[in-house]
Amino acid sequence: MNEAAIANAKRGFSFYARIYRKILVQDLKSKMSYRADFIISTFGMIMTNTVGFMSFYILFKNFPSINGWNYHEMLFLYGFSLIALTPLQCLFDNNWSLRYSVESGDFIKYCFRPINIFFYFISEVFDVKGLGQLVFGVAVLSYAWSSLAIPVTVGTLCLLVLLLITASLFMIAIMNFAAATCFWMLRSGYVMILMFRFKDYARYPASIFDGLFRIIFTFVIPIAFIAYYPGLVILHPDNIPLLSKLSPVIGVLFFWLSYKFWMLGATRYDGTGS
């Protein structure tokens, strides 16, 4: 259709970028006016990360290495996965409300605007608390980086950014899939919670899995791509596996698939709550 083509041209990338920026700015403004919430979330973020680090520390107190990986290498993966988590928590946090929106029927309101439903839904929430995690992650990663004496060059830093984006895409894709299950079933909250817990295992080397499970955790629930495969590029630059090199492409593919799955659910939605 001709008119549809025009409408699509009108609503291109710059259209969405403009709207997104406006919503984010407005949302931030309103967030700042709820100071108590902001403080509690930030405190929560610091507590969770402290507790998370404690369990990591306790484990290494008892066992000096895991699968040939020493404390500092593991710390590298740990910091890396925390940073990779930030975009998910800042920008895609509304996925956590998807299930409630769908079950209560409120989701229908997202179907009445002439813009992409996924974009409209996700753009509604910008979560500042994710930034606390970023600070924590950067600190851990920097410490591990310097302890491992990895040289700092512009090249490696650019590579690091690319790898972090890749890992984020996997993280976001997993949660998109998990969130979208609510379009098909009731009480899908557990899927999200479970997937979110899986990410805690992403920071361990994928070499601990064998056989079938190696394949599952690489291609079905791709947690191996959240820290291990991208991390290898920097940690073991002499011996980079093919999957590490391909990870940006696979990351984009996974994200795209998760988006399609999410949208499939949204078009299937009938406004009654399954």
């Binding site: 259709m1 008119e3 549809a4 409408a7 009108k10 609503r11 259209f15 403009r18 709207i19 406006k22 919503i23 407005q26 949302d27 309103s30 967030k31 029927g105 409120d106 229908i108 309101k109 179907c111 009445f112 605007r113 002439p114 813009i115 992409n116 509604e124 939605y269 009938d270 406004g271």
Partner: protein
């Protein structure tokens, strides 16, 4: 903008079916349902044909669960009809959801579609961007709004802080903002006080008049119908049972009157009388035989009563019915 398409909505033999799982009762039934594949088909909308010209306000009525919201969801592109043709503003809503959304506005009574934590003016500005409303058109609309309602105090409030009435008002303004060809209003006055209801009705009427917007209104409030609708469509059990103007609706039951009598002890009793069959005087004399009458009032039947009778008749004649044109005179009078 001129609405050049003369038919805003055309539905031809539209059917919508749902598959639902047969649930079983009790604890044992629930355990059985864990593994059950026992589905049945429910027809929510059953062969409805209707065409609505641009600029009309149509009251879309029916008892709860009649299939009203399913129809609205099909018209807005959320649901795909199982069979039949549905054209809204010249395109198929389900196939061109985004395009369809450009030309419609939707208000769901109790669910605000505005950004919960943003001041209203910011929501409006976002909508301006989303619908690509030209500056001039936006300014004109805002001017019109401030003429129609007391806009200023609302603009800087967030939706979260608004009362239900203010929220509904804001939602209606937001729905008309991009000057859509059709606006769907689902129970817009639900839960509002009398003066707010009147305000909302005036607003809808005025916007419809000035912008020539087609309005599809579902409601259970006959006050809305009386105040706004030129035409009424009634559906029940997924089927259309009435489609005509409001005057015709009243004249259809024109021979009906409501007799109110005051009995000793200050009790008012109401009787609906079909004058073509029963004489009012004979009913009164029946009352007099039983005891003294203190006062008598004879009233025209209200829209509310008419709709109630249509629903009742529909339930009584479920098997025979194919349209409202059939004679219903054989139905007894419910007292």
């Amino acid at each position: 903008m001129k609405k050049e398409i003369d038919q805003a909505i055309v539905m031809e033999n539209v059917v919508k079916e749902f598959k639902v799982l047969n649930r079983h009762e009790g604890l044992r039934g629930s355990i059985r349902d864990l593994f059950s594949r026992d589905y049945r088909t429910v027809t929510a909308v059953d062969n409805i044909s209707i065409s609505i010209p641009g600029g009309q306000i149509v009251g879309y009525l029916g008892p709860n669960g009649a299939g009203k919201s399913t129809t609205i969801k099909m018209m807005t592109g959320v649901l795909e009809p199982t069979s039949g043709n549905l054209i809204v503003n010249g395109c198929v809503p389900y196939k061109n959801r985004t395009k369809n959304c450009e030309n419609i506005g939707v208000v769901f009574g109790q669910r605000s579609q505005l950004w919960w934590s943003l001041p209203l003016i910011e929501s409006f500005r976002l909508l301006k961007d989303i619908y690509l409303i030209p500056d001039r058109q936006y300014d004109e609309m805002m001017k019109l709004y401030s003429d129609l309602v007391d806009l200023e105090p609302l603009l800087h409030k967030t939706v979260r802080q608004m009362s239900l009435g203010q929220r509904t008002l804001s939602d209606i303004l937001a729905a008309f903002l991009h000057d859509p060809k059709i606006v769907f209003l689902d129970e817009p006055t639900i839960g509002l006080d009398v003066s707010m209801k009147a305000k909302i009705r005036d607003l809808i009427k005025e916007l419809n008049r000035m912008k020539q917007t087609t309005v599809i209104l579902t409601t259970h409030d006959m006050g809305d119908v009386d105040a706004l609708c030129e035409r009424i469509v009634i559906i029940d059990h997924g089927r259309m049972i009435y489609d005509n103007d409001i005057d015709h609706l009243k004249s259809y039951f024109g021979s009906y009157r409501i007799l109110k009598v005051r009995l000793p002890g200050d009790i008012w009793e109401e009787t609906v009388i079909d004058e073509s069959k029963t004489d009012v005087m004979s009913v009164i004399s029946d009352y007099q035989k039983k005891g003294k009458l203190l006062d008598i009032k004879l009233e025209e039947i209200s829209t509310e009563e008419v709709i109630k009778k249509i629903y009742e008749n529909e339930t009584n004649e479920r098997k025979k019915i194919s349209g409202i044109d059939k004679s219903r005179d054989n139905t007894g009078i419910a007292v």
